[in-house]
């Protein structure tokens, strides 16, 4: 759409700007402060420059959790984005069946993080959980408190259960907005189902998928409550993701300085990845 050039539009953005600035900038500056100082107690602090940053970047346990985190987010995107699109394609688009399907699909989204953890902690237990018993019953040895592979499977299943609905809802909304003539033209040309998907549906989904990928990336990269509740970062440190490691440092050891430096690096990493995704997805926009 053609837009007017008018800097007075800023007046309409000021409320959002002020609110978000209040919430974001003041806490951010506090964290920047912590990260540059060594704090012994009230009023006793020494400026130490980038010492904490150096310490955090050299910590092998943090490097390990970073790699773990990247692997987890990559798996989450690789599973949930295709699955979400596939399910959205299968959903009925009109009538009461469509409404019913939307409601059923959306339910996991409305479960608070800690409740998600509680559900899966019991659901996946090999002795009293349906999932745990089911997997063991078909002859696979599965116990998320003793095997790292099982713990990862549990967390991936849980995250897929919780967040694929978001991808489905976004993709479904995108599909519903494709005008009917596109499909008619495809039918006249005798296009195959795959061709319709590849050349009509997928390009039209670009906008919503960009948002879906960004949201899923950010939230999976910051996942905290669910692994904390379900596996507590274990067994060993196999599910100690970045947030879990960060909270151990900030709350467990009360090392505010290094923890603040850690969270700034963490923040910058997410920002960088998101910007890369955003740029790549924008770059191919010209393609038909």
């Amino acid at each position: 759409m053609h837009k007017l050039d008018d800097n007075r539009a800023w007046l309409l953005v000021v409320p959002v700007f002020a609110l978000v600035a209040f919430n974001a900038v003041i806490p951010l500056m506090t964290v920047v402060n912590y990260s540059l100082q060594d704090i012994f107690g009230p009023g006793q602090r020494v400026f130490i420059g980038v010492e904490w940053f150096r310490e955090v970047l050299r910590d092998p346990t943090i490097q390990a959790s970073f790699l773990r985190q990247v692997a987890f987010s990559a798996l989450v995107l690789a599973i949930q984005i295709p699955l979400g699109i596939a399910i959205a394609l299968l959903l009925p688009r009109v009538g009461w069946k469509s409404s019913l399907a939307i409601i059923l699909i959306a339910i996991p989204l409305l479960v608070p993080f800690n409740v998600v953890g509680t559900i899966w902690q019991v659901y996946a237990r090999p002795d009293i959980g349906l999932l745990g018993r089911g997997i063991n019953a078909i002859g696979i040895d599965y116990n998320y408190t003793s095997s790292a592979v099982s713990a990862w499977i549990t967390l991936l299943l849980m995250d897929t259960w919780h967040w694929t609905p978001l991808v489905i809802l976004l993709a479904f909304a995108g599909l519903c907005s494709i005008p009917e003539p596109y499909y008619q033209a495809a039918r006249i040309d005798g296009a195959s189902r795959w061709a319709v998907f590849r050349h009509i549906e997928l390009p039209k989904l670009r906008g919503v998928l960009t948002i879906a990928i960004l949201l899923r990336f950010m939230d999976s990269f910051m996942i905290y409550t669910e692994p904390f509740v379900v596996t507590g970062g274990g067994p060993g440190s196999s599910t100690t993701f970045l947030s879990v490691r960060l909270v151990n440092m900030a709350v467990g050891q009360f090392d505010l300085g290094p923890a603040a430096a850690f969270s700034l690096i963490y923040f910058l990493a997410i920002l960088l990845f998101s910007y890369v995704f955003y740029t790549i997805l924008k770059m191919n926009e010209g393609e038909p």
Binding site: K3, W10, V20, V31, Y34, T118, I119, L256
Partner: protein, 286 residues
């Protein structure tokens, strides 16, 4: 089953080819819905059992079903008040977020202005701050302004990650409305605020509904900030649940019942927006 296939199925020559495909599609969808439903069923089942039975039995159906857990929640003020507290800040958050996001989304959808793209990405970047270490500064900030342990603190703090999404969704809906409507109304002598409230907002009512749903959802499920910014008076249900879990051992039946209750308000909200979810917010920015 996609629209195109159902429509093709009515064409006589195509009819024979499609039953198997429809069947496969229905099976896949059914399997996915079962995958989604089972964990929810499991928590409902737990909520109907005594703690002893939860830990001891693995039968598919509830063992010795009882409503005792729900009775406890509805008779104990710490439980039902925390449920109301959570509803209070989530509704406040939804109202604040919509109030600030509507004008901003209008600006992004109608005007080009200095730094518009950067502001948009900056708004979004605030979703990316790992909450763990930001909890302490948030606590200090809201204590300093005297809002600690009120619904306002949580409602305002949650706008940080809710508002960017609200702006994006609303902007998508608004961009679907042709600008000629704005221009006609302004020529007819409407002021911008009056036009916005009396003409424009009814046109994007479905978008506002969908946005309200997403605001509600993201605020409802958040735990860390809600727990940090409250202590007794405004403590939400999610915080009461974690405290029960840590102080007196795990009462799984009670936790499960509280968990089931946390799902219900969201289901009510989505019931209202079920028909709007699909309508055109794919048109937006990005």
């Amino acid at each position: 089953m996609t629209v195109i296939e159902t429509r093709l199925a009515t064409d006589a020559p195509a009819r024979a080819a499609f039953p198997t495909r429809r069947l496969v599609a229905a099976c896949v969808l059914g399997a996915y819905l079962i995958f989604q439903a089972l964990p929810v069923y499991w928590i409902v089942r737990m909520s109907l059992m005594t703690p002893g039975n939860v830990m001891g039995r693995s039968d598919f159906l509830p063992v010795e079903p009882t409503f005792d857990n729900y009775r406890t929640i509805f008779t104990d003020p710490t439980w039902y008040m925390s449920f109301l507290n959570q509803l209070a800040y989530v509704c406040l958050n939804t109202a604040i977020s919509l109030a600030v996001a509507l004008p901003a989304a209008y600006a992004f959808s109608r005007y080009r202005f200095l730094g518009d793209k950067h502001v948009f990405f900056w708004l979004f970047s605030n979703r990316m701050a790992p909450p763990a270490v930001f909890l302490l500064p948030f606590f200090q900030l809201y204590s300093a302004v005297g809002l600690f342990d009120t619904p306002w603190a949580v409602a305002l703090a949650h706008t940080l990650f809710v508002v960017p999404l609200a702006v994006w969704i609303l902007e998508g809906f608004m961009s679907g409305i042709p600008r000629e409507i704005d221009e006609t109304a302004l020529i007819d002598g409407y002021s911008l605020p009056r036009f916005f409230v009396t003409i424009f907002m009814p046109l994007i009512a479905s978008g506002i509904g969908v946005t309200a749903f997403f605001c509600f959802m993201f605020s409802w499920i958040e735990l860390l900030l809600a727990r940090t910014l409250t202590s007794v008076d405004a403590r939400p249900l999610v915080a009461t649940m974690t405290r029960t879990a840590s102080s007196s051992g795990m009462d799984w039946g009670l936790l499960a019942a509280a968990g089931v209750l946390t799902i219900l308000p969201g289901v009510a909200v989505i019931w209202f927006v079920r028909n709007y979810i699909a309508k055109g917010f794919a048109l937006g920015r990005v």
